[in-house]
Every structure is written in structure tokens, then in C-alpha cells.
């Protein structure tokens, strides 16, 4: 087993189960294909500003929301 695999962490990303090797919210965005995309983030129902993403650690069971702007009424 590789070192990375031992650190995989089960979280919920936008409602779907994801196993991630990312230790922080910023790393998760890069890992999951959100690099360079303007999004807003929440962790376990709390807003996480962009500047705090690198310092926001992830733990098993975390629920992450990655949102963008859409049509609305």
C-alpha cells in the first residue's frame, strides 16, 4: 500500500461520496478539478472564505459544498 493510499479520507463532496488524499480544502479543490474555477465553498454547513481554504483541514466524514452562480428567480 502506498503512503498516499493510507491517507485517503472519505468525505462527501456536493452530496457524493469521495475518497480524497487532500489534507486541506484548497488541496481538495485542486485534486477534484476545481483549480482556476471561481467557486464558493462551505465545510459542514459553514462558509469557508477563499483565503482560509489552505488552512482549512479536512477530516473523515466532512461535508464539502462547492457552489457557483446559476440561473435563479
Amino acid at each position: 500500500m502506498t503512503e498516499t493510499a493510507t491517507r485517503l479520507c472519505d468525505i462527501t463532496l456536493n452530496g457524493a461520496a469521495v475518497a480524497t488524499g487532500a489534507a486541506t480544502l484548497a488541496a481538495l479543490l485542486a485534486e477534484q478539478g476545481f483549480a482556476g474555477i471561481k467557486v464558493a465553498t462551505a465545510l459542514n454547513g459553514e462558509f469557508v472564505p477563499e483565503r482560509l481554504r489552505p488552512a482549512t483541514a479536512l477530516a473523515a466524514g466532512d461535508r464539502v459544498e462547492i457552489l457557483t452562480v446559476r440561473q435563479g428567480g
Binding site: 456536493n14 452530496g15 477534484q32 478539478g33 476545481f34 474555477i37 471561481k38 467557486v39 464558493a40 465553498t41 462551505a42 454547513g45 459553514e46 462558509f47 472564505p49 477563499e50 459544498e65 462547492i66 457552489l67 457557483t68 452562480v69 446559476r70 440561473q71 435563479g72 428567480g73
Partner: protein, 265 residues
């Protein structure tokens, strides 16, 4: 609203149009200066949000993000914070939904979220029922605009409770009041404006029309017309007919003749 003058009294939603082009054309035809948007989950490597933003930013409009779909004050507060960062605006159309069938606002959650958001520096546009006591709580919480529903979202039924809407208007003569939701026809919007409402926010009635662009123009004209009528001063309704043509000098008029509408001897 919140110290800023809007160029148009028609606020338009951006959802449910047959295509992005039709949406843009409808917004232009409506001459709306404020449009609503939502926040939704982004796909990995997705550019959905960026594409939509590019489209909407090309229009001369200010964005009013909503918290549509939120069920609790906490969800709405988090969504508002995310919208503020994404769109760099402190405006938020606050929706806390209580019931799936009616999409009616959860008034308790609404007041709770409004209090917190006002503390955090947001300019809150609360989607509410026409309930006067809730209106007072929202104003006490710091809201400087109120948005009572006409009828439930997407129903197109118009103003379900015109008496309460008149009362609300009379109770807050100086507060910007916007009818939000339930408008189906330009005549509904005109009726709201004739009551003295400051603006109307609608989406489905335009987006789902056979020709959304023409319908947007129709709404814009109705709203302008209703506002002009309010400013001009409407007459009071009366139960009794009053002839508009002068009675004096009526031909064939004889005081001794039998009265019309009464049987002759």
C-alpha cells in the same frame, strides 16, 4: 433600495428561459436593471458558472443573488456568505422555504436569518408573506426593503390577498416594497403598481411565455402604466353609478314623465 435608485421597477429572474439568448433578450426588453441569480453545485472542471456569469455580466444589470432552496436560517446564512464572495455584493434575496407544495416562506427562519445577515452587513431583500407582524420584525431586524409574495412561486395567480397587501403598503408608506412571486399576467403587475408598490419581481410569467421577449416588454409597459396611475391618483370605487355626461340639459327630460327602470301605470 438601500440608498440606490434602480432604473427600472421590474426585477427579473434569470431561470426557466428556453435559451440563454432569449434570457438576455428578455432582460433587455424588460429594461430591468436588477436580475436575480442563484447558487448551485459546480461540476468538476465545470465552467457552467463562469459561462453564465459572462453572459449576465454583459448586460447592464445589477445581480441580486437568492438563497432559493434553503430550508433553515443557517443554510440561508451560509449561502448568502458564499454569494457575497462569488459576486462581490452584499445584496441578498433571502428565501427560507417552509413547505414544498406552497413554497411559502418559513417566517420564523426568515426573521432569524435576517437578523444575523443584517448584523453581518448584508442588505437583505426578504421574500415574505403579506403578514404585517413579520414585516415589523424584519424591519426591526434592519431590513430596508420588504418583498411580500403575490401568490405562491410559479403559480401565476396574481395578488391572492389584495386587502392585506394594501394594508402593508399603507402601514409602511416610505419603505420600498416589492411584490415577489406569483405574478402571471401584466395586469397583475399593474394592479400591484396601482396599489403603490415600488416594484415587481417575477420570472416564470416571462420565461415560460410563448414569446418571453415580447412578454418582458408587455410587463415593462404594464408596470410603467400602473406606476403612472398610482402617481396620478386613482378614483375611489363606488357602489352607485354616477353619470359622467352632465345631467343638466338632458334632452327629452321631463320631470312628470315616468322614470326609466320603473314600470308604467
Amino acid at each position: 433600495m438601500y440608498g440606490e435608485e434602480a432604473a427600472s421597477r421590474l426585477l427579473l429572474g434569470t431561470a426557466l428561459y428556453p435559451s440563454p439568448q432569449v434570457m438576455s433578450d428578455a432582460i433587455r426588453a424588460a429594461k430591468s436593471s436588477i436580475v436575480t441569480v442563484s447558487l448551485r453545485r459546480e461540476q468538476a472542471r465545470g465552467r457552467t458558472g463562469a459561462r453564465f456569469l459572462d453572459l449576465i455580466r454583459a448586460l447592464p444589470v445589477r445581480l441580486l443573488p437568492n438563497t432559493a432552496g434553503c430550508r433553515t436560517a443557517k443554510e440561508a446564512i451560509t449561502t448568502a456568505e458564499m454569494a457575497r464572495e462569488l459576486l462581490d455584493t452584499d445584496w441578498i434575496k433571502l428565501e427560507v422555504i417552509a413547505n414544498d407544495d406552497t413554497l411559502q416562506p418559513d417566517l420564523f427562519g426568515l426573521v432569524e436569518a435576517a437578523e444575523e445577515l443584517n448584523k453581518r452587513g448584508f442588505k437583505v431583500f426578504p421574500y415574505m408573506t403579506e403578514d404585517l407582524s413579520v414585516a415589523e420584525r424584519l424591519v426591526a431586524a434592519g431590513c430596508k426593503v420588504l418583498m411580500p409574495w403575490g401568490s405562491p412561486i410559479g403559480t401565476g395567480r396574481g395578488l391572492s390577498n389584495p386587502h392585506a397587501l394594501r394594508t402593508l403598503r399603507a402601514y409602511f408608506p416610505d419603505l420600498p416594497l416589492v411584490i415577489d412571486a406569483g405574478i402571471g399576467a401584466p395586469s397583475h403587475a399593474a394592479a400591484a403598481m396601482e396599489m403603490g408598490y415600488d416594484a415587481v419581481l417575477l420570472n416564470t410569467a416571462v420565461a415560460r411565455a410563448h414569446d418571453p421577449v415580447r412578454m418582458a416588454a408587455a410587463f415593462a409597459a404594464a408596470i410603467e402604466s400602473g406606476r403612472a396611475a398610482y402617481e396620478a391618483g386613482l378614483i375611489e370605487p363606488s357602489d352607485r353609478a354616477k353619470p359622467s355626461t352632465p345631467v343638466a340639459g338632458t334632452p327629452f327630460f321631463d320631470l312628470d314623465a315616468p322614470k326609466p327602470g320603473r314600470s308604467r301605470q
